[in-house]
C-alpha cells in the first residue's frame, strides 16, 4: 500500500509503505461482532477459549445523509479521544496520462485554505485543540484525518465539511506546494532504490491498467501541472456522494450522526463522472527489468497477477492466497524467514505480500535481498522453490493453524488502536467492501483449508503472469547524480 502522507516526519517513514500491494490482511480481517466468531475460532485453533472470552463486542453504526454522504461510527470508550476521517473515492487509479500525481497534489492543496479558513489555518486550528492531523493518498482513495480530544469532534467536522465544498485554489499557493511535492518525490522515490524498483516494476507489469502510474506522479507530470489540474480534480471528485466519514472513539453514535447532519448535511450532492474500468490485457509471457541505482545490496521483486476478492461470500481463492502469504511471511516462524533467512542463509531479508481488497488488479509479491555471497538469481531460485514445495507437498495443518492464530491475535491487538480500527473500516470501504462484511471475510479466511492453499499455489504462480525486477547496485563513486533505469525486456 502506497501512502503519501502529507507531512510525515522523515523518521516515521516506513519503506514498506512504498509497496503498492503489501499484505493488508492485518487491516482486512477486522470483525465487528467478534465475540461469537472469535470464540468459535478459538476452539478450532490452539489458542484457548479464555484467551478471547473477555473481549466484548465492538459496536459500529452507520447512517447515510440525504446528500449521499455515509457516516460510519465505532464507539471505543477506553480513552477520551476520537479519530475523525474523511475518505474520498478518488485515488491514483482515477488519474489519466499526463496528470499523474494530481490526486496526491490536491491532497496537499486541501491544507491551503477556504474562504473562511486561511492558508495554513486548518492545521493551526487542529493543533489549538490539542490535536494532530494529516492525510494520505493511495492508488484507490484519498483520506484525511484528525486525532483529537473527544470534545473537539464537532470543530473537526466543521473544518472538513468546509474544505469538502469551499476549497480555494490559487496559482501562487500551488506554485509553492508543487515544489514541496517534488521534494517528496525525490525523498520517497528518486533517492530510494527499493522504491524505484517498485515504481518501475509496476510501470512494466501493467501496460494499460492505471496502477502502472505511481501515486506520487512522474516528475515531468508534476513539473507541468497547474493549479487548474488540481481544481478540475477537486470539482470532479470532492462531493459528499463520493465520500464517507469514519469516526472511532469515545463518542455516542447518535450524537455523531446529529453532528454529521449539522455540518455535512448542507453540502450539495453532485453528479459524478463515469468511471471507466480499464482492464489489463492478458499478459503473454514473463517480463523482466533491471534498475541501476546507488546501493550496496541487490534487491529482487517478483509480482504475479492474481485474482482479487470480488464476491465476498462465494470466492475462495483470494482467501487461500491471503493464507499463503501469511504462511510465507506472517511471523517469525513463517517459511521465508525460517527457510531462506535462517535455514539456507540465502536471503538477507525476504517477504511476501498480497492484498485481496482493492479497486484495481491484484498482485502476489515476493521480494528480498540476497545474503552476502549470494546473487539475485540464487534468491529467485530459492523463492520459486518455496512456491514449488507448496505446490507439490502442500502445507501442514500445524502451520496453517499457526497462521490463523496470528490473524486472530492480530485482530485483538488491533483493538488497542483507534487509528488502526478506523483505517480498517476506511480501507475496506475504499475497495467497495461494506464494513459489516469485514466480519464475513474473517470467517471465510478461517475456513481456508490446506488443500485450497496448495491449489491456489498451483494455479496462479505461472511465469506468464510474472514480472521480475532486479536492483543492480552501483557503487557511490561510480554513479552519476541520477539513478539510471534500463529499458525493460519482455
Amino acid at each position: 500500500m502506497w501512502l503519501a502522507a502529507d507531512r510525515a516526519p522523515a523518521k516515521a517513514y516506513d519503506a514498506r509503505l512504498q509497496r503498492s500491494h503489501f499484505n493488508r490482511s492485518g487491516y482486512l480481517l477486522m470483525t465487528q461482532r467478534p465475540f461469537l466468531s472469535m470464540l468459535r475460532l478459538a476452539v478450532l485453533l490452539a489458542v484457548s477459549q479464555s484467551a478471547v472470552a473477555a473481549l466484548q463486542p465492538a459496536s459500529a453504526f452507520e447512517t447515510t445523509l440525504a446528500n449521499g454522504l455515509r457516516v460510519i461510527v465505532k464507539e471505543d470508550h477506553r480513552a477520551p479521544t476520537v479519530v475523525h476521517m474523511v475518505w474520498y473515492r478518488a485515488g491514483a487509479i482515477d488519474e489519466i496520462d499526463g496528470t499523474s500525481g494530481v490526486a496526491h497534489v490536491l491532497e496537499h492543496m486541501m491544507f491551503k485554505g477556504t474562504k473562511k479558513v486561511g492558508p495554513g489555518q486548518f492545521s493551526k486550528r487542529v493543533a489549538a485543540v490539542g490535536g494532530r492531523d494529516n492525510a494520505f493518498t493511495n492508488l484507490d482513495y484519498t483520506a484525511y484525518f484528525q486525532q483529537v480530544p473527544k470534545r473537539a469532534l464537532a470543530a473537526m467536522m466543521a473544518l472538513e465539511a468546509d474544505r469538502m465544498a469551499n476549497l480555494r485554489l490559487d496559482a501562487r499557493e500551488f506554485a509553492q506546494e508543487i515544489k514541496v511535492v517534488m521534494e517528496e518525490r525525490r525523498m520517497r522515490t528518486d533517492d530510494n532504490p527499493q522504491a524505484l524498483v517498485n515504481e518501475r516494476l509496476q510501470s512494466v507489469a501493467f501496460q494499460e491498467h492505471p496502477y502502472r502510474r505511481p501515486v506520487i506522479g512522474w516528475m515531468s507530470d508534476l513539473e507541468q501541472m497547474s493549479y487548474r489540474d488540481a481544481q478540475d480534480w477537486y470539482r470532479r471528485w470532492y462531493a459528499p456522494n463520493n465520500a464517507y466519514v469514519v469516526v472511532v472513539g469515545d463518542v455516542d453514535h447518535a450524537e455523531v450522526f446529529r453532528l454529521a447532519e449539522k455540518y455535512y448535511g448542507g453540502i450539495k450532492r453532485r453528479a459524478l463522472p463515469t468511471r471507466r474500468a480499464l482492464a489489463e490485457p492478458k499478459q503473454l509471457g514473463i517480463k523482466r527489468l533491471e534498475v541501476r541505482a546507488p546501493a550496496k545490496l541487490p534487491y529482487l521483486m517478483m509480482a504475479w497477477k492474481v485474482p482479487k476478492l470480488q464476491d465476498i461470500r462465494r470466492d475462495r481463492e483470494p482467501y487461500a492466497l491471503e493464507m499463503l502469504s501469511a504462511l510465507l511471511d506472517g511471523h517469525d516462524a513463517a517459511r521465508l524467514s525460517k527457510d531462506l533467512v535462517r535455514g539456507q542463509k540465502i536471503a538477507q531479508s525476504a517477504s511476501a505480500g498480497y492484498d485481496a481488497t482493492l479497486r484495481g488488479e491484484a498482485q502476489f509479491i515476493l521480494d528480498g535481498q540476497p545474503a552476502e555471497g549470494r546473487t539475485v538469481a540464487d534468491l529467485e531460485a530459492a523463492l520459486r522453490a518455496e512456491i514449488r514445495r507448496i505446490q507439490e507437498e502442500g502445507v501442514s495443518a500445524e502451520e496453517l493453524a499457526r497462521a490463523k492464530t496470528q490473524t486472530l491475535a492480530g485482530q485483538i491487538y488491533k483493538r488497542d488502536s483507534m487509528m488502526a480500527q478506523a483505517m480498517e473500516i476506511g480501507g475496506a470501504e475504499a475497495a467497495g467492501v461494506h464494513w459489516q462484511d469485514i466480519d464475513t471475510m474473517l470467517e471465510m479466511t478461517r475456513g481456508v483449508t490446506a488443500e485450497e492453499v496448495q491449489a491456489a499455489a498451483r494455479k496462479y504462480f505461472r511465469d506468464d503472469a510474472l514480472t521480475v525486477a532486479v536492483l543492480d547496485p552501483q557503487p557511490l563513486d561510480a554513479v552519476a547524480a541520477k539513478a539510471t533505469v534500463t529499458a525493460p525486456s519482455h
Partner: protein, 432 residues
C-alpha cells in the same frame, strides 16, 4: 488581565485533561524496578523489560566491539536452554505472542505482547524469561546474524540519511560512547565470548526496569515481575558513563550522488530529568516540533517550498541527549535552505517565542496529552520511559501544570543555556 484569565482557563483545562493514569511501582527482591498499570479493556498484556545495556555500554574496549549491544539483544531469541530458535519462533507463533526488540544508546529493550488468558500468558512469559536468563548464543546463529548485521551496515553506508546520521552523531559526541558507530570491522570481531560476557555483565536485575500494562491484577503482575527477574545474571548495577563534552562549532560536507541534500544541525542538549525540560519542550514545539504550525515548517516549507519535511527535535538521555534540526532539499538549494534554517534558529534564540506562539504551544501540549496515552502501546512507551529514567511517579499528572507554568523568558533562557551557537555542528550531505 487577559493573560491571567487565559491562565485560569488553561488550569481548568489542565485539570480536565489530567492523565488519570495510575502507575504502581515496586522493587523485586532481585533488585529490578517494576512499573505497572492495570488496563482491563482488552484481553491482552504488554510486558517490556529495559536494561542499562544500550550501545553506549559497548564502548569499554575503545569501540573495538561496537555493535555488540545490538547483536546481543538480537540473539536473545536464537536459542535458550532446551530450545532452539525454530522451537522458540514456533511456540511464540502458536500462542499469537509478539516479540519486539530495540536498542538506543542508553537502553536495550525486549517487549512481549500476548493474549492475557492464563495459558497463553504463562507460555509467552516463560519464553521471555528463558530468553533473558538462559540465552545460548549458538555459533551458527551468531555467524549468520553477524553476516546480516555487516551487510546491513554496508547497505546503510550507501544511504543518504544513514550516512548523515552517523557522521552527525560522531561529530557532536567526539570520543564519547554516544558517538560510537558499529562498523563491518567491529562487528566482525565479535564472537560468542563477547556476547556471553556482555549479556552476563549487563542483563542483571539491578540494571532492569520492568513495565507491565494490561489485563492482569497487581498480584499477578508481582508474580510476573518476580519470575522474569529471578534468574537473570548477577550483573553489577549501572555505573555512570563518561561525561559529555560540547563539540566545537564546525561544518561537515559529505559527497553523495543523491538528488536531495540532507542537512542536520545540532549539539548535545540535556539529560532526562533536567529542570529545563519543560521550557525546552514548549520552545521546541514553537521552533520545529509542532508539525505544520512550527516556525521551521512555515519558513522552509510553507513560504518557500524548499522541503517536504523539516523539524527540530530533542531526545533527553541519561547524559546530554541530542538536539537537532533536519531537512532534505534539492541539492542545488542546500545553501539557500541552510540559510533560512540558520536565520530562523538565530531569531528564535534571540527573541524566543511570541505570546501567541507560547499560548498555542501550551494548548496543544496540554490538551493533546490524552492522545499520547490512549492505547496500551502508547502507555507502555511512556511508562517505560518514566521507569527507566526514574522520573517521578506523578510525572503524567504534573505534566499539564508544568507546561502551563512555562514563561517566554524561561524558554529563551533554557535555549540560551542549551543551544550555544559556538557548539553547533552542521552536517550537509550531497549539497552542491
Amino acid at each position: 488581565m487577559k493573560k491571567t484569565l487565559f491562565g485560569m482557563l488553561c488550569l481548568l483545562a489542565a485539570t480536565m485533561a489530567e492523565a488519570g493514569v495510575s502507575i504502581e511501582q515496586w522493587m523485586t527482591s532481585s533488585g529490578a524496578r517494576v512499573y505497572f498499570v492495570v488496563s482491563r479493556g482488552l484481553p491482552m498484556l504488554d510486558v517490556q523489560i529495559d536494561f542499562a545495556a544500550g550501545s553506549a555500554y559497548e564502548a569499554s574496549d575503545g569501540g573495538r566491539f561496537a555493535g555488540l549491544a545490538r547483536l546481543t539483544n538480537d540473539l536473545l531469541d536464537a536459542g535458550v536452554s532446551g530450545l532452539d530458535e525454530e522451537q522458540i519462533a514456533a511456540r511464540l507463533g502458536d500462542i499469537g505472542a509478539r516479540l519486539t526488540r530495540s536498542i538506543d544508546p542508553d537502553r536495550a529493550s525486549m517487549g512481549l505482547r500476548t493474549l492475557s488468558a492464563k495459558a497463553e500468558r504463562d507460555a509467552a512469559l516463560e519464553l521471555l524469561r528463558a530468553m533473558l536468563a538462559t540465552p545460548t548464543f549458538p555459533a551458527d546463529a551468531v555467524g549468520r546474524e553477524k553476516a546480516r548485521s555487516i551487510a546491513e551496515i554496508q547497505e546503510a553506508e550507501t544511504r543518504p540519511e544513514s550516512i548523515l546520521a552517523k557522521r552527525f552523531a560522531a561529530a557532536i559526541y567526539p570520543g564519547h560512547p554516544y558517538g560510537l558507530q558499529a562498523t563491518a570491522e567491529s562487528v566482525g570481531r565479535i564472537g560468542r565470548d563477547e556476547l556471553m560476557t556482555f549479556w552476563r555483565s549487563h542483563y542483571g536485575a539491578r540494571r532492569a526496569t520492568v513495565t507491565i500494562i494490561g489485563d492482569v491484577s497487581r498480584a499477578e503482575a508481582e508474580i510476573i515481575a518476580t519470575r522474569l527477574c529471578a534468574a537473570l545474571p548477577d550483573a553489577p548495577p549501572d555505573a555512570p558513563l563518561a561525561t559529555v563534552t560540547a563539540p566545537a562549532r564546525q561544518t561537515i560536507r559529505i559527497a553523495h550522488p543523491a538528488s536531495q541534500a540532507h542537512i542536520s544541525i545540532g549539539l548535545p542538549m540535556i539529560r532526562r530529568g533536567d529542570a529545563d525540560f519543560f521550557p525546552l519542550l514548549v520552545g521546541n514545539y514553537v521552533l520545529g516540533g509542532g508539525g505544520f504550525v512550527s516556525r521551521l515548517m512555515q519558513e522552509v516549507r510553507e513560504k518557500r517550498g524548499l522541503a517536504y519535511s523539516v523539524y527540530s527535535s530533542f531526545s533527553p538521555r541519561k547524559l546530554e541527549g541530542p538536539f537537532q534540526i533536519s531537512l532534505q532539499t534539492k541539492r542545488s538549494q542546500a545553501a539557500e535552505a541552510l540559510q533560512v534554517v540558520s536565520a530562523t534558529l538565530a531569531q528564535f534564540l534571540e527573541q524566543g517565542p511570541s505570546m501567541s506562539e507560547l499560548r498555542a504551544a501550551k494548548q496543544n501540549l496540554i490538551d493533546g496529552q490524552a492522545l499520547g496515552l490512549d492505547s496500551n502501546a502508547k502507555l507502555l512507551r511512556t511508562v517505560a520511559m518514566i521507569g527507566f529514567y526514574q522520573l517521578p511517579l506523578n510525572y503524567l499528572d504534573d505534566f499539564p501544570g508544568r507546561v502551563e507554568a512555562v514563561t517566554a523568558g524561561q524558554v529563551r533562557l533554557a535555549f540560551a543555556r542549551h543551544v550555544q551557537p559556538e557548539h553547533l555542528v552542521t552536517a550537509i550531505l550531497a549539497g552542491d
